[in-house]
């Protein structure tokens, strides 16, 4: 049975902010289905009581003194922006 449907692929693409074509929807449906089926072998392992590892080193909340430092100049920060105006990054209208 298919583990993932074309509609799910479209939903995920929307969450990921990726425009995908019908052709890509079909391809990703098949490929993600294969990868997810492969990943389901993890269900063979009993992980009851096993703590998840998000980070291999035992470190938490690395703190530093809060000392003000000079930031990067505005002109540098805007250098790579595709569009900017009056020292601000410009984007298309955000209201419908």
């Amino acid at each position: 049975m298919s583990r993932i449907s074309p509609d799910q692929v479209k939903h995920v693409a929307n969450l990921a902010r990726l425009a995908i074509t019908e052709e890509e929807t079909e391809k990703f449906t098949n490929q993600l289905d294969a990868i997810i089926s492969f990943a389901e072998q993890l269900n063979e392992i009993n992980t009851d009581g096993v703590e998840p590892t998000s980070h291999v080193l035992d470190m938490k909340n690395v703190m530093r003194e809060d000392i003000p430092q000079e930031g990067l100049p505005q002109s540098e920060v805007l250098k790579n922006a595709p569009e900017h105006q009056d020292g601000q990054v410009k984007v298309p209208s955000i209201m419908e």
Binding site: I4, Q8, V9, V12, A13, L15, A16, R17, L18, A19, I20, E24, F28, Q31, L32, A34, I35, I36, F38, A39, Q41, L42, N43, E44, I45, T47, V50, E51, P52, T53, S54, H55, V56, L57, M59, V62, R64, L72, E76, V77, K79, N80, A81, P82, E83, V89, V91, P92, S93, I94, E96
Partner: protein
Amino acid sequence: MSLFDHKVSELHEKLHKKELKVTDLVDESYKRISEVEEKVQAFLTLDEEKARETAKQMDEKLGTDESKGLLFGMPIGVKDNIVTKGLRTTCASKILENFDPIYDATVVNKLNQAETVTIGKLNMDEFAMGSSNENSAYKKTRNPWSIDRVPGGSSGGSAASVAAGEVLFSLGSDTGGSIRQPASFCGVVGMKPTYGRVSRFGLVAFASSLDQIGPITRTVEDNAYLLQAISGLDPMDSTSANVAVPRFVESLTGDIRGLKIAVPKEYLGEGVQEEVRQSVLDALKVLENLGATWEEVSLPHSKYALAAYYLLSSSEASANLARFDGVRYGYRTENAESLIDLYKKTRAEGFGEEVKRRIMLGTFALSSGYYDAYYKKAQKVRTLIKNDFEEVFKKYDVIVGPTTPTPAFKLDENTKDPLTMYANDILTIPVNLAGVPGISVPCGFINELPLGLQIIGKHFDESTVYRVAHAFEQATEFHKQKPGL
């Protein structure tokens, strides 16, 4: 004979005694690039004008206290996912085609302090996702040993440029094998340090809990020197570790008597080509003759590493790559009707197929209703994999096996099915999941294609890994062979 056939320590002595100039070394790089780059295709950007100018200025300092640093004047290549101020950094992606970084990565700062000379930026799989360099948006780097074959990936340009003699050494990054696998395919030495050993500040993030920068070199000694230069705690990377950096080169004693080696049966089993298996067994004999002993062990959860890795790394990637939205930097679509439309079209036009596939997989694995079944399950399996290593390291000093199941494959051989391509990394991925250090050193050839021996150590014990790798290298001749480009 190339100047780069000499070790760093030898070149340093010649420079400091003024028998050699920095301009000679930089000339050597660009001369070799002009000869072979058309075939090898390792570089995305060259920094020739600046490198030559820097070299001239450095020549003035030769013989003074200022040229005493061991890496002073050494030509280096840097993988194109490590940001370099004022030098285009693309991650081999169209989405960063014109990206001009406004700061240097910490490793680049450290190289600048050590006064290496940056020759250029090296090709890779887009955003470090791939095992062949075929996922670069710009070019396909070739294997210097056989140009119809891949150099490996994702640090394919980093490994190929060193093997081809275009640079003395290079930096790569390794998330699931991306330094060790191309080092193995190209017959050079590649080290993935312990997670936290080297700052990731300025490394464009793929999977933050797995990524680590490391050196690719011709010899183990050079590798130890380069890692020394880039290691250490960095206030800009809270995951860099506050652990003393030993003088790695002091561990290169050649003495491995009494060393206990573990050889996981899973690393010599199904899927590993017979000749690869044989060359590892031959390597173990060499290590035995040097006074080490080895025993077969089991890392029982190895077979699950690949699945856990693809879920975790893709999940992290889907979050990390959210920043590429066409707003603050990088490519922006030209026909957006709204902000959301701008995001979607920019990303659709800017990312390549493999990157999209992994973003999709990661977004799915993190999405509501699937998080526990996939992402969290994979994190739990990661714990079991890490525990496997800890168990073995209670009794043994290092783990030894092949770096890759086969030597370099042909271009287009593995591009149809993503899962076949992913299987290249079955022997390197567990090392990233456990966060331990691993090196690949040349250990043989199959039909004139190099093979790598993987040596894995305990957390922050790169010294022992280097000691074993160096002893093996000194007892064998494989590292002395050069590709007949």
